[in-house]
């Protein structure tokens, strides 16, 4: 779940930056998830590790702790080359990511309305 207070703090309290990051996150998280799935299918543990690492970086900014942990697990599986454990961990990451992406979409809608009012 998105921690809006910490996310605001991580963005220096700037609503314009928050909005820009939120829009970027929807695009970037989809890209990294796709990279993780492709790497998993191709048996490329290092590529999976790298994509999970990048995804984790973005999730940290949103202070989405359970999603961060899920990405970290995938990263570790890639690092340890234990691809047999990947499907379950990636499945969990997808669920966490779906939740956070919904939260981010709501945030964008709220911030966009707030912006158009001001």
């Amino acid at each position: 779940m998105l921690n809006i207070e910490l996310f605001t703090e991580n963005c220096g309290g700037d609503p314009a930056v928050m909005l820009e990051l939120a829009v970027m996150f929807l695009d970037e998280s989809a890209r990294q998830l796709s990279a993780i799935e492709q790497a998993m299918s191709a048996g490329k543990s290092e590529e999976m590790q790298f994509a999970a690492h990048r995804l984790r970086g973005g999730l940290c900014i949103f202070a989405a702790n359970s999603a961060v942990q899920a990405a970290e697990t995938v990263e570790l599986i890639g690092s340890n080359k234990q691809l047999e454990k990947a499907p379950e961990a990636v499945g969990r990451l997808k669920n966490e990511l779906a939740q956070i992406r919904n939260d981010v979409r709501d945030l964008i809608a709220r911030e966009t309305i707030s912006y158009s009012i001001h």
Partner: protein
């Protein structure tokens, strides 16, 4: 204007740091991998480097090593950032010549304060010989730069 190189493959961290630095009057150069970071350092004037430990094509260690082997780039202050920053990693980075280490997500106030501190430390190491005879001269005396008054002529 002072120029900061932000080298990080994560576009979100890049954006966050860039906006904060620009708001505070710094020029920002961005690089998304080790090769691009090295090219930017070669071609542009940079006053402080902020570098992610893990990037495509290598790591912060590669960038730092190249900088420290160069007379021109060696003195430029370096801030290393990583979501996995811990005592061991920070110690290894400092042995290579990193000035500061920070954990992601970045505390923007702390980062800005660190950049300002490193920029002013760097300025103190430059001996100012222009200006009036009474203008102060800054001399680098090692870890703690001291200010001394320029003698009257």
């Amino acid at each position: 204007m002072k120029y900061i190189l932000v080298a990080d493959d994560d576009p979100m961290t890049n954006l966050l740091i860039t906006r904060e630095l620009q708001k505070n009057g710094y020029g920002v150069l961005m690089a998304h991998d080790v090769v691009h970071a090295s090219m930017t350092l070669t071609r542009s004037r940079v006053d402080v480097v902020i570098v992610d430990v893990r990037m495509p094509g290598g790591s912060a260690f590669d960038v730092i090593r190249r900088m420290k082997h160069s007379t021109r780039l060696g003195p430029i202050p370096i801030i290393a950032i990583s979501s996995g920053m811990n005592g061991e990693l920070a110690a290894a980075l400092k042995r290579q010549g990193t000035d500061r280490c920070m954990k992601k997500p970045i505390d923007l106030n702390a980062l800005l304060g660190t950049v300002m501190e490193l920029v002013s430390q760097q300025e103190l190491t430059i001996v100012h010989r222009s200006g009036s005879p009474k203008s102060p001269v800054y001399i680098d005396v090692g870890a703690e730069p001291k200010m001394v008054e320029q003698p009257h002529e």
